[in-house]
Amino acid sequence: MIIRPEDVKGDITKSADVVVIGSGAGGAPIAKELAVEGRSVVVLEEGAHYTRDDFKLNPLESMMRMYRDAGQTITLGVPSVVAPMGNTLGGTTTINSGTALRMLGPILKKWHMFHGLHDITEDEMGLLYSHLEEYLFVKKADPEVAGPVANTFLEGARKLGLSSGWLPRNAKECEGYGSCAFGCPSGAKQSMDVSFIPDASKSGAEFYTCCRAESIKVSNDVAKGVTGRFVDPSSGRSTGIGITVEAKVVVLAGGAIYSPFFLLRQGLANSSGQVGRNLEIHPAVQTVALMDRPMDPPKGIPQSSHVDEFKDEGIMLEGGTVPPEVHAVTLPFYGKAHAAHMKQYPNMGIFGGMVSDIDSWGRVLALPRAGYSPSIFYSLKGRDVEKARLATVIMAEIWFAAGAKKVFTAITGHTELGSTADLRRLAQSRIRARDIYAMSAYHYLGTCRMGSDPEWSVVKHTGETWDVENLFISDASILPTSPGVNPQLTIMALATRNAGFIDDKLNNG
C-alpha cells in the first residue's frame, strides 16, 4: 500500500520486521524481496508519489517536484558541479535515464584485492544481474525509436572505427518520448515506482510518502526502529505529524549523499571515521553539435547509445537529447546570438562524456546550515580534468565525422569549434579544472563503503554496519569504488543480495 500524507490524520506507531528508509534502487528491491518472503515491511520515503499521469514532459515542473533542491544541488569545489538527485517515490530511478549496465569485469577483482570483498563472487553477481535484467525487461535500445541524434552520433563513431552501440535499458515497449529524466509519461521505463514498489505493495509492504526519517533508535548497539516526520512536499517543512516504527531490522537506503548525512547527524556507525568520505562521482561534460539536417530533438530516447572504445581509460560517452529549456543553458551565448543559436535547436544534437574511472574524491559533511541538506565537497583533480578534455575532443571529432557544421563545448576558450583546425587546437591544449564552465555529475558513490576491515569501511559485505547490529545500508554509498558504468543495476543487485542476509538474520531470531 502506498500511503500519501493526506491519508495520515495523526501520529502513527507501528511495528514491523523491517523498516526501510528510502525507496530508490537500494531500498525498493529489499522491500520487495522481504515482503514476498512474508516479512512485514514499512518503507519511509521523503519524496511524494507521482504517477505517469502526472508527468507532463515539463523539465521545470519535474525538477521543482521530484528533484532534491529543485535540481540545483551543487558541489562545493572547482569546478562547482550540478548534482541532480531524485526526491520522489522510486528515488533517482524515477528521474534517471534508464541505462542498465553490468559492472565492468575488472572492478569486482579490484573490490576483492583492495577491499577484501571475496564473498561477492562473479558468479553470484552474474545470477543477480540476469534475474534483474529479466524482471526489469532490460534490452538494448531500439535504433528505430532512439531518434536521429543517437543514430547520427553512432554513424560518426563508426566512420572513425570506434567501438559503439546501443545501451541496455530497463524499459518495456519504449516509444521514445524524450523525457526519462523528468518522469516517463508512458510508464515504459521500469523505475522502482512501476516495478519493485507495486510488487512489494502487493505483498503487503507499506510505503509512507512525504515522510522524512529523523533518527534510528539504537539500544546497546542494536538498531530497534526509526522515528520520522511527515513533510509538506512543496516546502519540505514538517506537518507536525510523526511516525515511529519499531523494527527488528533497519535498512538505510537514502543514497550516497543523504545516507552518510543521516548517519553523521546522528553520530552513528562511524567508528571508522569513513562515513561521508571517499565520495566518488561520475563527472560529465557535454558537446552540442549543429548539423545540416533535422535532428528532431528531444523526441527519441534521451540516453540510448554509447561509445565505449575508451572505457578502459575511464571515459564513457553516452547520450543524448534534451528538451529546449535544458538545451538553452548549454549554449554560452547572450542576447540575439543566443536566440539565433536556439532557433537552430531542431538541427542540434547533444552528447555527454562521463569520466567513469575517477581519481578525484570528495566528502559529504553535516555542517550547520539552513534546511535539511548536506554539504558536498568535491573538486575535479589531476587526470580527471584531462579525461574531461579528452572526452570533449573525442565527442567533437565524432560529431565532425558525422557531418557537424559546428560543435559547442563547455571548455573556456574552445566554446565554439567551427573546423577541424579548432578541434586540433583543443586537442593540443592544456586545461585546468576551472576552465570547464559547465559540468554535471551523476552516480554518487562510496560514502559508506563496504569492506572486510572495520577500520576502513562502514559496512560488511552483507550491508550490515560494523558498529550497529541489525542496521543495514543498501544504496550507492556502499559501493567501494565506481562500477565503471551507470550504477543502478549494481545497486539493485547488491540490494537483492543483502535482502537474503536480512532474511537469514530474521530467521535466526
Partner: protein, 140 residues
C-alpha cells in the same frame, strides 16, 4: 511570492532582455513573468545557489558601473549583451561564471514556455497525448 523571491525578481528583471535577445518568430519576452519564475526557481534551490546567483546579479551591475560608468539598465541592449558576452569570455573564473549563473534561470524559464517550444518544433501537448495512447501495461 515571498519577500526573497520578490527581491530576486526585481533585481534580475533588467537582465532578462539582454540575456535572451529577440528574433523574428519568437514570442515576445514577458520580462516580469520570466523574472518572477526565475525567482521562484532559484529560491526553491539550496541557500548557496540563491546567494551565488543573487550576488552574481549584483556583481554584474557593479561591473557595469565600473567599466561603462553607467548603471546596467541605462546601457543599450547591445551594450548589455556585449558586457555579458565579454564577461563570459574573461580569463578570470569568477567573472566568467557571472553571466552563466545569472543566465541559467532566465534561459530555463523562457524556453520552458509552451509557445516558445512550439516555435522550436517541440509540441509538448501532442507528445503527451501520444504517450497517453501508448501507456505500457503494468503487468509483469
Amino acid at each position: 511570492m515571498t519577500t526573497r523571491e520578490k527581491l530576486y525578481a526585481r533585481t534580475i528583471a533588467p537582465l532578462v532582455p539582454s540575456t535572451l535577445g529577440t528574433l523574428d518568430g519568437f514570442p515576445e519576452i514577458e520580462v516580469r513573468r520570466v523574472a518572477e519564475e526565475s525567482a521562484r526557481y532559484v529560491c526553491g534551490g539550496p541557500p548557496e545557489v540563491f546567494i551565488v546567483s543573487y550576488g552574481g546579479v549584483l556583481l554584474l551591475k557593479l561591473l557595469a558601473l565600473l567599466t561603462c560608468r553607467k548603471p546596467f539598465k541605462s546601457l543599450t541592449l547591445d551594450e548589455q549583451k556585449a558586457m555579458l558576452q565579454k564577461s563570459s569570455e574573461s580569463r578570470f573564473m569568477a567573472l566568467r561564471m557571472l553571466p552563466i549563473l545569472v543566465g541559467l534561470p532566465i534561459k530555463t524559464m523562457f524556453y520552458n514556455q509552451d509557445d516558445v517550444c512550439r516555435v522550436l518544433g517541440y509540441d509538448r501537448e501532442s507528445l503527451i497525448e501520444d504517450a497517453r495512447q501508448h501507456q505500457v501495461s503494468i503487468d509483469r
